[in-house]
Amino acid sequence: MPRSLAASPPVDHPTGPDLPMVQARAVRKAFGDNEVLKGIDLTVDPGQVVSLLGPSGSGKSTFLRCINHLESIDAGEISVNGSLVGYRRQGGKKHELRPAEVAAARRDVGMVFQSFNLFPHLTAVQNVMEAPIYVKRQNRDAAKAHALELLARVGLADKTAAYPAHLSGGQQQRVAIARALAMEPRLMLFDEPTSALDPELVGEVLDVIKTLAADGMTMIVVTHEIGFAREVCDRVVFMDGGVIVEQGTPADVLTNPQHARTKSFLSKVL
Protein backbone atom coordinates (compact mmCIF):
# COMPACT_ATOMS: atom_id res chain seq x y z
CA MET A 1 0.00 0.00 0.00
CA PRO A 2 1.03 3.63 -0.37
CA ARG A 3 4.17 4.78 1.33
CA SER A 4 4.66 8.47 0.82
CA LEU A 5 2.25 10.34 -1.40
CA ALA A 6 3.16 13.99 -1.44
CA ALA A 7 5.17 14.57 -4.60
CA SER A 8 7.52 16.72 -2.59
CA PRO A 9 7.23 17.27 1.14
CA PRO A 10 5.14 20.34 1.90
CA VAL A 11 8.02 21.88 3.85
CA ASP A 12 9.64 22.56 0.47
CA HIS A 13 6.95 25.09 -0.33
CA PRO A 14 7.78 28.57 0.80
CA THR A 15 4.72 28.97 2.94
CA GLY A 16 4.92 31.55 5.65
CA PRO A 17 4.32 30.11 9.10
CA ASP A 18 1.43 32.48 9.74
CA LEU A 19 -0.14 32.40 6.31
CA PRO A 20 -3.25 30.23 6.25
CA MET A 21 -3.57 27.84 3.31
CA VAL A 22 -7.21 28.74 2.85
CA GLN A 23 -8.92 31.79 4.15
CA ALA A 24 -12.59 32.38 3.38
CA ARG A 25 -14.34 35.50 4.59
CA ALA A 26 -18.07 36.17 4.38
CA VAL A 27 -18.41 34.08 1.22
CA ARG A 28 -21.80 34.34 -0.44
CA LYS A 29 -23.09 32.53 -3.44
CA ALA A 30 -26.52 32.27 -5.01
CA PHE A 31 -27.88 30.33 -7.95
CA GLY A 32 -30.60 32.67 -9.18
CA ASP A 33 -32.85 33.25 -6.18
CA ASN A 34 -31.48 30.29 -4.31
CA GLU A 35 -28.87 31.57 -1.86
CA VAL A 36 -26.65 28.57 -1.26
CA LEU A 37 -23.80 30.10 0.75
CA LYS A 38 -24.83 32.73 3.26
CA GLY A 39 -21.57 34.06 4.60
CA ILE A 40 -18.97 31.37 5.13
CA ASP A 41 -15.86 32.08 7.20
CA LEU A 42 -13.25 29.39 7.32
CA THR A 43 -9.52 29.25 7.90
CA VAL A 44 -7.42 26.21 7.13
CA ASP A 45 -3.78 26.21 8.15
CA PRO A 46 -1.04 24.44 6.20
CA GLY A 47 -0.93 20.74 6.96
CA GLN A 48 -4.44 20.67 8.38
CA VAL A 49 -7.01 18.13 7.32
CA VAL A 50 -10.52 19.47 7.58
CA SER A 51 -13.67 17.53 6.92
CA LEU A 52 -16.83 19.21 5.82
CA LEU A 53 -20.03 17.55 6.98
CA GLY A 54 -23.62 18.50 6.47
CA PRO A 55 -26.93 17.37 5.08
CA SER A 56 -27.58 17.18 1.34
CA GLY A 57 -28.04 20.62 -0.21
CA SER A 58 -26.28 22.45 2.59
CA GLY A 59 -23.75 23.92 0.16
CA LYS A 60 -20.68 21.78 0.86
CA SER A 61 -19.89 21.05 -2.77
CA THR A 62 -20.61 24.62 -3.78
CA PHE A 63 -18.22 25.96 -1.18
CA LEU A 64 -15.52 23.49 -2.19
CA ARG A 65 -15.93 24.46 -5.83
CA CYS A 66 -15.65 28.14 -4.91
CA ILE A 67 -12.23 27.45 -3.40
CA ASN A 68 -10.79 26.65 -6.83
CA HIS A 69 -13.14 28.97 -8.66
CA LEU A 70 -15.13 26.31 -10.47
CA GLU A 71 -17.94 28.51 -9.16
CA SER A 72 -17.54 32.26 -8.86
CA ILE A 73 -18.58 33.87 -5.61
CA ASP A 74 -21.02 36.77 -5.30
CA ALA A 75 -19.56 38.45 -2.23
CA GLY A 76 -16.77 38.03 0.28
CA GLU A 77 -13.37 36.64 -0.59
CA ILE A 78 -11.40 33.44 -0.64
CA SER A 79 -7.65 33.30 -0.70
CA VAL A 80 -5.45 30.26 -1.13
CA ASN A 81 -1.91 30.49 0.13
CA GLY A 82 -2.19 34.25 0.35
CA SER A 83 -3.51 34.97 -3.12
CA LEU A 84 -7.08 35.81 -3.94
CA VAL A 85 -9.00 33.13 -5.84
CA GLY A 86 -10.43 34.21 -9.17
CA TYR A 87 -10.04 37.93 -8.65
CA ARG A 88 -7.44 40.68 -8.65
CA ARG A 89 -7.67 43.45 -6.09
CA GLN A 90 -7.26 46.86 -7.63
CA GLY A 91 -8.47 50.30 -6.61
CA GLY A 92 -10.64 49.05 -3.77
CA LYS A 93 -12.42 46.53 -5.98
CA LYS A 94 -12.01 42.90 -6.89
CA HIS A 95 -11.77 42.39 -10.63
CA GLU A 96 -12.64 39.03 -12.09
CA LEU A 97 -9.69 37.29 -13.75
CA ARG A 98 -9.68 36.03 -17.31
CA PRO A 99 -10.11 32.25 -17.80
CA ALA A 100 -6.44 31.69 -18.61
CA GLU A 101 -5.42 33.61 -15.48
CA VAL A 102 -7.86 31.62 -13.37
CA ALA A 103 -6.35 28.45 -14.81
CA ALA A 104 -2.85 29.54 -13.80
CA ALA A 105 -4.08 30.46 -10.32
CA ARG A 106 -5.46 26.94 -9.82
CA ARG A 107 -2.07 25.26 -9.95
CA ASP A 108 -1.73 24.99 -6.20
CA VAL A 109 -5.11 23.35 -5.76
CA GLY A 110 -5.92 19.76 -6.65
CA MET A 111 -9.47 18.45 -6.74
CA VAL A 112 -10.97 14.98 -6.59
CA PHE A 113 -14.59 14.48 -7.59
CA GLN A 114 -17.29 12.13 -6.42
CA SER A 115 -17.69 10.73 -9.94
CA PHE A 116 -13.90 10.49 -10.57
CA ASN A 117 -14.12 12.29 -13.93
CA LEU A 118 -11.14 10.46 -15.35
CA PHE A 119 -10.54 11.10 -19.05
CA PRO A 120 -12.00 7.96 -20.63
CA HIS A 121 -9.99 8.23 -23.83
CA LEU A 122 -6.69 8.10 -21.97
CA THR A 123 -5.03 5.29 -20.02
CA ALA A 124 -4.34 5.62 -16.31
CA VAL A 125 -0.81 6.82 -16.84
CA GLN A 126 -1.87 9.18 -19.64
CA ASN A 127 -4.51 10.64 -17.35
CA VAL A 128 -1.84 11.41 -14.80
CA MET A 129 0.69 12.76 -17.34
CA GLU A 130 -1.73 14.97 -19.24
CA ALA A 131 -1.67 18.14 -17.14
CA PRO A 132 2.06 18.09 -16.31
CA ILE A 133 2.84 17.84 -20.02
CA TYR A 134 0.34 20.32 -21.41
CA VAL A 135 -0.03 22.73 -18.50
CA LYS A 136 3.38 22.64 -16.85
CA ARG A 137 5.13 21.89 -20.14
CA GLN A 138 7.09 19.10 -18.53
CA ASN A 139 9.20 16.87 -20.67
CA ARG A 140 7.23 13.76 -21.62
CA ASP A 141 9.67 11.23 -20.18
CA ALA A 142 9.95 13.06 -16.89
CA ALA A 143 6.18 13.41 -16.66
CA LYS A 144 5.74 9.71 -17.40
CA ALA A 145 8.30 8.68 -14.80
CA HIS A 146 6.58 10.86 -12.23
CA ALA A 147 3.16 9.52 -13.22
CA LEU A 148 4.29 5.91 -12.90
CA GLU A 149 5.74 6.68 -9.51
CA LEU A 150 2.50 8.29 -8.33
CA LEU A 151 0.44 5.36 -9.62
CA ALA A 152 2.73 2.97 -7.78
CA ARG A 153 2.22 4.96 -4.63
CA VAL A 154 -1.55 4.68 -4.84
CA GLY A 155 -1.11 0.94 -5.35
CA LEU A 156 -1.76 0.80 -9.08
CA ALA A 157 1.64 -0.09 -10.48
CA ASP A 158 0.07 -2.95 -12.44
CA LYS A 159 -2.77 -0.88 -13.92
CA THR A 160 -0.89 1.97 -15.53
CA ALA A 161 -1.87 0.99 -19.08
CA ALA A 162 -5.53 0.34 -18.30
CA TYR A 163 -8.31 2.57 -19.56
CA PRO A 164 -10.68 3.94 -16.89
CA ALA A 165 -13.56 1.73 -18.03
CA HIS A 166 -11.48 -1.33 -17.15
CA LEU A 167 -10.80 -0.17 -13.62
CA SER A 168 -12.98 -0.58 -10.56
CA GLY A 169 -14.41 2.52 -8.93
CA GLY A 170 -11.83 2.43 -6.18
CA GLN A 171 -9.04 2.10 -8.71
CA GLN A 172 -10.44 4.94 -10.79
CA GLN A 173 -10.61 7.20 -7.78
CA ARG A 174 -7.02 6.37 -6.88
CA VAL A 175 -5.96 7.27 -10.42
CA ALA A 176 -7.88 10.53 -10.01
CA ILE A 177 -5.95 11.25 -6.81
CA ALA A 178 -2.65 10.50 -8.54
CA ARG A 179 -3.72 12.76 -11.40
CA ALA A 180 -4.35 15.65 -9.03
CA LEU A 181 -1.08 15.02 -7.19
CA ALA A 182 0.87 15.13 -10.43
CA MET A 183 0.41 18.90 -10.49
CA GLU A 184 2.11 19.04 -7.08
CA PRO A 185 -0.66 20.94 -5.32
CA ARG A 186 -0.37 22.43 -1.86
CA LEU A 187 -4.02 21.97 -1.17
CA MET A 188 -6.26 19.05 -2.06
CA LEU A 189 -10.04 19.27 -2.21
CA PHE A 190 -12.10 16.08 -2.06
CA ASP A 191 -15.81 16.16 -2.81
CA GLU A 192 -17.30 12.97 -1.38
CA PRO A 193 -14.48 10.86 -2.84
CA THR A 194 -16.01 7.57 -1.71
CA SER A 195 -19.73 8.19 -2.14
CA ALA A 196 -19.89 6.58 -5.57
CA LEU A 197 -18.03 3.47 -4.44
CA ASP A 198 -19.20 0.03 -3.42
CA PRO A 199 -18.71 -0.35 0.33
CA GLU A 200 -15.83 -2.79 -0.03
CA LEU A 201 -13.88 -0.29 -2.16
CA VAL A 202 -14.19 2.68 0.20
CA GLY A 203 -11.29 1.58 2.37
CA GLU A 204 -8.66 1.56 -0.36
CA VAL A 205 -9.42 5.17 -1.29
CA LEU A 206 -9.57 6.36 2.32
CA ASP A 207 -6.22 4.65 2.94
CA VAL A 208 -4.66 6.74 0.20
CA ILE A 209 -6.12 9.92 1.66
CA LYS A 210 -4.84 8.93 5.10
CA THR A 211 -1.33 8.50 3.72
CA LEU A 212 -1.58 11.95 2.21
CA ALA A 213 -2.64 13.33 5.57
CA ALA A 214 0.29 11.64 7.25
CA ASP A 215 2.58 13.32 4.70
CA GLY A 216 1.31 16.69 5.78
CA MET A 217 -0.85 17.57 2.77
CA THR A 218 -3.42 20.26 3.47
CA MET A 219 -6.84 18.87 2.64
CA ILE A 220 -10.51 19.72 2.77
CA VAL A 221 -12.65 16.62 2.51
CA VAL A 222 -16.40 16.63 2.06
CA THR A 223 -17.47 13.26 3.37
CA HIS A 224 -20.18 11.22 5.00
CA GLU A 225 -17.60 8.84 6.45
CA ILE A 226 -17.79 9.85 10.10
CA GLY A 227 -15.23 7.24 11.10
CA PHE A 228 -12.74 8.68 8.64
CA ALA A 229 -13.40 12.21 9.88
CA ARG A 230 -12.86 11.13 13.45
CA GLU A 231 -9.66 9.25 12.73
CA VAL A 232 -7.90 11.46 10.21
CA CYS A 233 -9.16 15.02 10.43
CA ASP A 234 -7.78 17.76 12.61
CA ARG A 235 -11.02 19.62 12.42
CA VAL A 236 -14.62 18.91 11.55
CA VAL A 237 -16.81 21.63 10.08
CA PHE A 238 -20.55 21.14 10.10
CA MET A 239 -22.56 23.08 7.51
CA ASP A 240 -26.29 23.45 7.20
CA GLY A 241 -28.41 25.80 5.12
CA GLY A 242 -25.45 27.66 3.68
CA VAL A 243 -23.77 28.54 6.96
CA ILE A 244 -21.20 26.88 9.18
CA VAL A 245 -23.18 25.76 12.21
CA GLU A 246 -20.27 24.56 14.28
CA GLN A 247 -16.69 23.44 13.99
CA GLY A 248 -14.00 22.00 16.17
CA THR A 249 -11.96 18.90 16.81
CA PRO A 250 -13.59 15.61 15.82
CA ALA A 251 -13.91 14.77 19.49
CA ASP A 252 -15.84 17.96 20.18
CA VAL A 253 -18.11 18.06 17.17
CA LEU A 254 -18.72 14.35 16.67
CA THR A 255 -18.92 13.16 20.23
CA ASN A 256 -20.22 16.22 21.95
CA PRO A 257 -22.11 18.39 19.45
CA GLN A 258 -23.45 21.68 20.78
CA HIS A 259 -26.08 22.45 18.18
CA ALA A 260 -29.41 20.75 17.77
CA ARG A 261 -28.92 20.63 13.98
CA THR A 262 -25.55 18.92 14.35
CA LYS A 263 -27.01 16.43 16.78
CA SER A 264 -29.89 15.53 14.54
CA PHE A 265 -27.59 15.18 11.51
CA LEU A 266 -25.17 12.97 13.40
CA SER A 267 -27.96 10.82 14.76
CA LYS A 268 -28.95 10.08 11.16
CA VAL A 269 -25.53 9.26 9.75
CA LEU A 270 -23.94 7.49 12.69
Binding site: M111, F119, H166
Partner: protein, 300 residues
Protein backbone atom coordinates in the same frame (compact mmCIF):
# COMPACT_ATOMS: atom_id res chain seq x y z
CA UNK B 1 -59.91 -23.00 -24.63
CA UNK B 2 -58.81 -26.52 -24.35
CA UNK B 3 -55.55 -27.02 -22.64
CA UNK B 4 -53.68 -30.07 -23.86
CA UNK B 5 -52.98 -32.21 -20.92
CA UNK B 6 -49.34 -32.99 -20.68
CA UNK B 7 -48.81 -36.37 -19.22
CA UNK B 8 -45.82 -36.54 -16.99
CA UNK B 9 -44.00 -39.22 -18.93
CA UNK B 10 -40.43 -40.12 -18.22
CA UNK B 11 -38.92 -37.90 -20.95
CA UNK B 12 -41.76 -35.37 -21.46
CA UNK B 13 -41.88 -34.62 -25.20
CA UNK B 14 -38.19 -34.08 -25.56
CA UNK B 15 -37.88 -36.64 -28.38
CA UNK B 16 -40.51 -35.08 -30.69
CA UNK B 17 -38.90 -33.29 -33.68
CA UNK B 18 -39.31 -29.53 -34.25
CA UNK B 19 -40.95 -28.34 -37.50
CA UNK B 20 -39.71 -24.95 -38.68
CA UNK B 21 -42.12 -22.25 -39.83
CA UNK B 22 -42.43 -22.13 -43.67
CA UNK B 23 -42.00 -18.69 -45.18
CA UNK B 24 -44.23 -19.06 -48.24
CA UNK B 25 -44.39 -15.27 -48.78
CA UNK B 26 -40.68 -15.16 -49.29
CA UNK B 27 -40.87 -17.61 -52.16
CA UNK B 28 -43.65 -15.68 -53.87
CA UNK B 29 -41.81 -12.36 -53.50
CA UNK B 30 -38.63 -13.98 -54.79
CA UNK B 31 -40.40 -15.32 -57.86
CA UNK B 32 -41.95 -11.93 -58.68
CA UNK B 33 -38.60 -10.20 -58.39
CA UNK B 34 -36.96 -12.84 -60.55
CA UNK B 35 -39.47 -12.22 -63.35
CA UNK B 36 -38.96 -8.46 -63.13
CA UNK B 37 -35.21 -8.88 -63.24
CA UNK B 38 -35.48 -11.12 -66.29
CA UNK B 39 -37.60 -8.49 -68.07
CA UNK B 40 -35.03 -5.81 -67.25
CA UNK B 41 -32.11 -7.87 -68.51
CA UNK B 42 -34.07 -8.69 -71.63
CA UNK B 43 -34.63 -4.97 -72.23
CA UNK B 44 -30.95 -4.21 -71.76
CA UNK B 45 -29.84 -6.99 -74.03
CA UNK B 46 -32.33 -6.61 -76.85
CA UNK B 47 -33.23 -2.93 -77.05
CA UNK B 48 -31.58 -1.66 -80.25
CA UNK B 49 -31.71 1.98 -79.07
CA UNK B 50 -29.79 1.31 -75.88
CA UNK B 51 -26.13 1.36 -76.86
CA UNK B 52 -24.55 -0.49 -73.99
CA UNK B 53 -21.34 -0.71 -75.98
CA UNK B 54 -21.04 3.07 -75.52
CA UNK B 55 -21.07 2.62 -71.75
CA UNK B 56 -17.96 0.50 -71.94
CA UNK B 57 -16.40 2.88 -74.42
CA UNK B 58 -16.96 6.00 -72.37
CA UNK B 59 -16.25 4.56 -68.91
CA UNK B 60 -12.54 5.28 -69.19
CA UNK B 61 -12.76 8.11 -71.67
CA UNK B 62 -10.34 10.94 -70.90
CA UNK B 63 -12.82 13.75 -70.27
CA UNK B 64 -14.93 11.46 -68.07
CA UNK B 65 -11.89 10.59 -65.98
CA UNK B 66 -11.01 14.26 -65.79
CA UNK B 67 -14.56 15.02 -64.61
CA UNK B 68 -14.19 12.28 -62.03
CA UNK B 69 -11.05 13.97 -60.74
CA UNK B 70 -12.86 17.32 -60.48
CA UNK B 71 -15.67 15.58 -58.55
CA UNK B 72 -13.17 14.15 -56.10
CA UNK B 73 -11.36 17.44 -55.68
CA UNK B 74 -14.59 19.31 -55.17
CA UNK B 75 -15.82 16.77 -52.60
CA UNK B 76 -12.59 17.06 -50.65
CA UNK B 77 -12.42 20.85 -50.79
CA UNK B 78 -16.08 21.38 -49.88
CA UNK B 79 -15.85 18.92 -46.99
CA UNK B 80 -12.71 20.64 -45.73
CA UNK B 81 -14.51 23.98 -45.72
CA UNK B 82 -17.55 22.34 -44.14
CA UNK B 83 -15.69 20.58 -41.34
CA UNK B 84 -13.43 23.51 -40.40
CA UNK B 85 -16.14 26.15 -40.57
CA UNK B 86 -18.68 23.79 -39.01
CA UNK B 87 -16.41 23.22 -36.02
CA UNK B 88 -15.93 26.95 -35.58
CA UNK B 89 -19.70 27.49 -35.82
CA UNK B 90 -20.36 24.75 -33.29
CA UNK B 91 -17.95 26.32 -30.84
CA UNK B 92 -19.57 29.71 -31.44
CA UNK B 93 -22.99 28.24 -30.73
CA UNK B 94 -21.72 26.75 -27.49
CA UNK B 95 -19.88 29.88 -26.36
CA UNK B 96 -20.95 32.21 -23.58
CA UNK B 97 -20.89 35.19 -25.90
CA UNK B 98 -24.50 35.88 -27.00
CA UNK B 99 -23.25 37.76 -30.07
CA UNK B 100 -21.24 34.76 -31.33
CA UNK B 101 -24.13 32.44 -30.53
CA UNK B 102 -26.52 34.66 -32.46
CA UNK B 103 -24.30 34.88 -35.53
CA UNK B 104 -23.80 31.11 -35.61
CA UNK B 105 -27.50 30.40 -35.13
CA UNK B 106 -28.34 32.85 -37.91
CA UNK B 107 -25.78 31.25 -40.22
CA UNK B 108 -27.19 27.78 -39.68
CA UNK B 109 -30.75 29.05 -40.20
CA UNK B 110 -29.91 30.76 -43.49
CA UNK B 111 -27.83 27.98 -44.99
CA UNK B 112 -30.14 25.18 -43.96
CA UNK B 113 -33.22 27.16 -44.84
CA UNK B 114 -32.42 27.84 -48.50
CA UNK B 115 -31.95 25.30 -51.33
CA UNK B 116 -28.37 24.38 -52.04
CA UNK B 117 -29.00 24.87 -55.75
CA UNK B 118 -29.92 28.50 -55.08
CA UNK B 119 -26.81 28.93 -52.97
CA UNK B 120 -24.59 27.59 -55.74
CA UNK B 121 -26.09 29.99 -58.27
CA UNK B 122 -25.82 32.82 -55.75
CA UNK B 123 -22.06 32.46 -55.38
CA UNK B 124 -21.63 31.99 -59.09
CA UNK B 125 -23.51 35.18 -59.96
CA UNK B 126 -22.10 37.26 -57.09
CA UNK B 127 -19.91 39.09 -59.58
CA UNK B 128 -22.94 40.68 -61.21
CA UNK B 129 -23.71 42.74 -58.11
CA UNK B 130 -20.27 42.90 -56.53
CA UNK B 131 -17.83 43.34 -59.41
CA UNK B 132 -14.78 44.02 -57.23
CA UNK B 133 -13.63 42.35 -54.05
CA UNK B 134 -11.06 44.37 -52.16
CA UNK B 135 -8.94 44.01 -49.14
CA UNK B 136 -8.51 47.06 -46.95
CA UNK B 137 -9.79 48.93 -43.96
CA UNK B 138 -13.61 48.94 -43.93
CA UNK B 139 -14.83 52.26 -45.35
CA UNK B 140 -11.14 53.28 -45.54
CA UNK B 141 -8.27 52.82 -47.98
CA UNK B 142 -7.93 49.69 -50.09
CA UNK B 143 -4.75 47.69 -50.26
CA UNK B 144 -5.74 45.26 -52.89
CA UNK B 145 -8.64 44.79 -55.23
CA UNK B 146 -9.63 42.02 -57.58
CA UNK B 147 -12.48 41.37 -59.95
CA UNK B 148 -15.02 39.05 -58.36
CA UNK B 149 -15.26 36.94 -61.49
CA UNK B 150 -11.51 36.34 -61.40
CA UNK B 151 -11.61 35.32 -57.76
CA UNK B 152 -14.78 33.27 -57.81
CA UNK B 153 -14.19 30.86 -60.63
CA UNK B 154 -16.67 28.07 -61.32
CA UNK B 155 -14.63 25.84 -59.05
CA UNK B 156 -14.47 28.44 -56.27
CA UNK B 157 -18.22 29.10 -56.54
CA UNK B 158 -18.85 25.36 -56.24
CA UNK B 159 -16.59 25.07 -53.18
CA UNK B 160 -18.29 28.07 -51.58
CA UNK B 161 -21.80 26.88 -52.40
CA UNK B 162 -21.28 23.30 -51.24
CA UNK B 163 -18.80 24.04 -48.44
CA UNK B 164 -20.69 26.87 -46.77
CA UNK B 165 -23.88 24.84 -46.91
CA UNK B 166 -22.10 21.80 -45.52
CA UNK B 167 -20.72 23.91 -42.64
CA UNK B 168 -24.26 24.49 -41.41
CA UNK B 169 -24.90 20.73 -41.23
CA UNK B 170 -21.47 19.96 -39.78
CA UNK B 171 -22.05 22.61 -37.11
CA UNK B 172 -25.02 20.61 -35.85
CA UNK B 173 -23.07 17.35 -35.93
CA UNK B 174 -20.09 18.82 -34.09
CA UNK B 175 -22.34 20.55 -31.59
CA UNK B 176 -24.13 17.31 -30.77
CA UNK B 177 -20.78 15.58 -30.36
CA UNK B 178 -19.40 18.22 -28.04
CA UNK B 179 -22.68 18.42 -26.14
CA UNK B 180 -22.51 14.70 -25.42
CA UNK B 181 -19.28 15.04 -23.44
CA UNK B 182 -19.99 15.10 -19.73
CA UNK B 183 -19.58 18.47 -18.00
CA UNK B 184 -17.47 16.76 -15.35
CA UNK B 185 -14.78 16.27 -17.98
CA UNK B 186 -14.35 19.99 -18.51
CA UNK B 187 -14.40 20.56 -14.77
CA UNK B 188 -11.75 17.92 -14.17
CA UNK B 189 -9.61 19.53 -16.86
CA UNK B 190 -10.13 22.97 -15.36
CA UNK B 191 -9.32 21.68 -11.89
CA UNK B 192 -6.00 20.50 -13.36
CA UNK B 193 -5.51 24.16 -14.30
CA UNK B 194 -5.96 23.61 -18.01
CA UNK B 195 -7.05 26.72 -19.85
CA UNK B 196 -10.47 26.51 -21.53
CA UNK B 197 -8.90 26.10 -24.95
CA UNK B 198 -6.53 23.37 -23.79
CA UNK B 199 -9.40 21.54 -22.10
CA UNK B 200 -11.33 21.71 -25.36
CA UNK B 201 -8.47 20.45 -27.45
CA UNK B 202 -7.13 17.70 -25.20
CA UNK B 203 -10.22 16.53 -23.33
CA UNK B 204 -13.50 17.49 -24.99
CA UNK B 205 -12.77 17.26 -28.71
CA UNK B 206 -11.12 13.79 -28.62
CA UNK B 207 -14.18 12.43 -26.85
CA UNK B 208 -16.59 14.30 -29.10
CA UNK B 209 -14.77 12.93 -32.16
CA UNK B 210 -16.15 9.49 -31.41
CA UNK B 211 -19.64 10.81 -32.12
CA UNK B 212 -18.64 13.22 -34.83
CA UNK B 213 -16.72 10.89 -37.15
CA UNK B 214 -19.47 8.43 -38.22
CA UNK B 215 -22.02 11.08 -39.31
CA UNK B 216 -19.22 13.04 -40.96
CA UNK B 217 -18.44 10.00 -43.07
CA UNK B 218 -22.11 10.05 -44.10
CA UNK B 219 -21.75 13.68 -45.05
CA UNK B 220 -18.77 12.85 -47.28
CA UNK B 221 -20.87 10.29 -49.14
CA UNK B 222 -23.71 12.80 -49.56
CA UNK B 223 -21.26 15.45 -50.67
CA UNK B 224 -19.86 13.20 -53.36
CA UNK B 225 -23.32 13.04 -54.90
CA UNK B 226 -24.18 16.67 -54.23
CA UNK B 227 -21.21 17.78 -56.32
CA UNK B 228 -23.31 16.82 -59.36
CA UNK B 229 -25.32 19.98 -58.66
CA UNK B 230 -22.32 21.96 -59.93
CA UNK B 231 -23.92 21.19 -63.29
CA UNK B 232 -25.99 24.36 -62.90
CA UNK B 233 -22.91 26.54 -62.91
CA UNK B 234 -21.26 24.53 -65.65
CA UNK B 235 -18.32 23.21 -63.65
CA UNK B 236 -17.00 20.22 -65.63
CA UNK B 237 -17.25 17.59 -62.93
CA UNK B 238 -18.48 14.07 -63.66
CA UNK B 239 -22.16 14.77 -64.33
CA UNK B 240 -21.49 17.96 -66.30
CA UNK B 241 -18.95 16.14 -68.42
CA UNK B 242 -21.43 13.36 -69.15
CA UNK B 243 -23.99 15.99 -70.08
CA UNK B 244 -21.56 17.78 -72.37
CA UNK B 245 -20.91 14.53 -74.21
CA UNK B 246 -24.55 13.51 -74.59
CA UNK B 247 -25.31 17.07 -75.69
CA UNK B 248 -23.23 16.23 -78.76
CA UNK B 249 -24.11 12.59 -79.42
CA UNK B 250 -27.61 12.35 -77.88
CA UNK B 251 -26.72 9.13 -76.03
CA UNK B 252 -28.12 10.36 -72.73
CA UNK B 253 -28.82 7.05 -71.01
CA UNK B 254 -25.48 5.36 -71.75
CA UNK B 255 -23.60 8.41 -70.48
CA UNK B 256 -25.73 8.73 -67.38
CA UNK B 257 -25.02 5.06 -66.73
CA UNK B 258 -21.30 5.80 -67.08
CA UNK B 259 -21.58 8.59 -64.49
CA UNK B 260 -23.70 6.40 -62.22
CA UNK B 261 -21.18 3.58 -62.34
CA UNK B 262 -18.46 5.93 -61.17
CA UNK B 263 -20.61 7.39 -58.39
CA UNK B 264 -21.47 3.87 -57.28
CA UNK B 265 -17.85 2.79 -57.26
CA UNK B 266 -16.89 5.79 -55.16
CA UNK B 267 -19.77 5.55 -52.71
CA UNK B 268 -19.10 1.84 -52.30
CA UNK B 269 -15.48 2.52 -51.44
CA UNK B 270 -16.49 5.30 -49.05
CA UNK B 271 -19.15 3.14 -47.41
CA UNK B 272 -16.56 0.45 -46.86
CA UNK B 273 -14.18 2.93 -45.25
CA UNK B 274 -17.05 4.32 -43.18
CA UNK B 275 -18.03 0.92 -41.84
CA UNK B 276 -14.42 0.30 -40.87
CA UNK B 277 -14.27 3.61 -39.02
CA UNK B 278 -17.62 2.98 -37.37
CA UNK B 279 -16.57 -0.42 -36.18
CA UNK B 280 -13.52 1.13 -34.59
CA UNK B 281 -15.31 4.00 -32.90
CA UNK B 282 -18.33 2.01 -31.76
CA UNK B 283 -16.10 -0.34 -29.84
CA UNK B 284 -16.51 1.99 -26.95
CA UNK B 285 -14.51 4.85 -25.78
CA UNK B 286 -11.53 2.73 -25.49
CA UNK B 287 -8.45 1.71 -27.27
CA UNK B 288 -8.31 -1.13 -24.82
CA UNK B 289 -11.72 -2.52 -25.72
CA UNK B 290 -10.82 -2.14 -29.34
CA UNK B 291 -7.70 -4.21 -29.00
CA UNK B 292 -9.47 -6.83 -26.96
CA UNK B 293 -12.33 -7.24 -29.39
CA UNK B 294 -9.88 -7.63 -32.19
CA UNK B 295 -8.32 -10.56 -30.42
CA UNK B 296 -11.69 -11.99 -29.55
CA UNK B 297 -12.78 -11.87 -33.19
CA UNK B 298 -9.70 -13.88 -34.02
CA UNK B 299 -7.08 -11.51 -35.35
CA UNK B 300 -9.08 -9.97 -38.11
Amino acid sequence: MTAQTVLPTESGHAEEPIVRLRHRGRWVAGAVLLVLAAMFVNFLATSPKLRLDLVVGYLFERSILQGLLVTLELTAAAMLVGVVLGTVLAMMRLSDNPMLRGVATGYVAVFRGTPILVQLLFWFFLGTVLPQISLGIPFGPEFFSISTNTLITQFAAAILGLGLNEAAYMAEIVRAGIGSVDKGQTEAAQALSMSPWLAYRRVVLPQAARLIVPPTANEVISMLKLTSLALVIGLPELTTTAQLIYGRNFQQIPLLIVASIWYLVLTTILTFIQSRIERRTSRGVLGATRRRTRFAIGGR
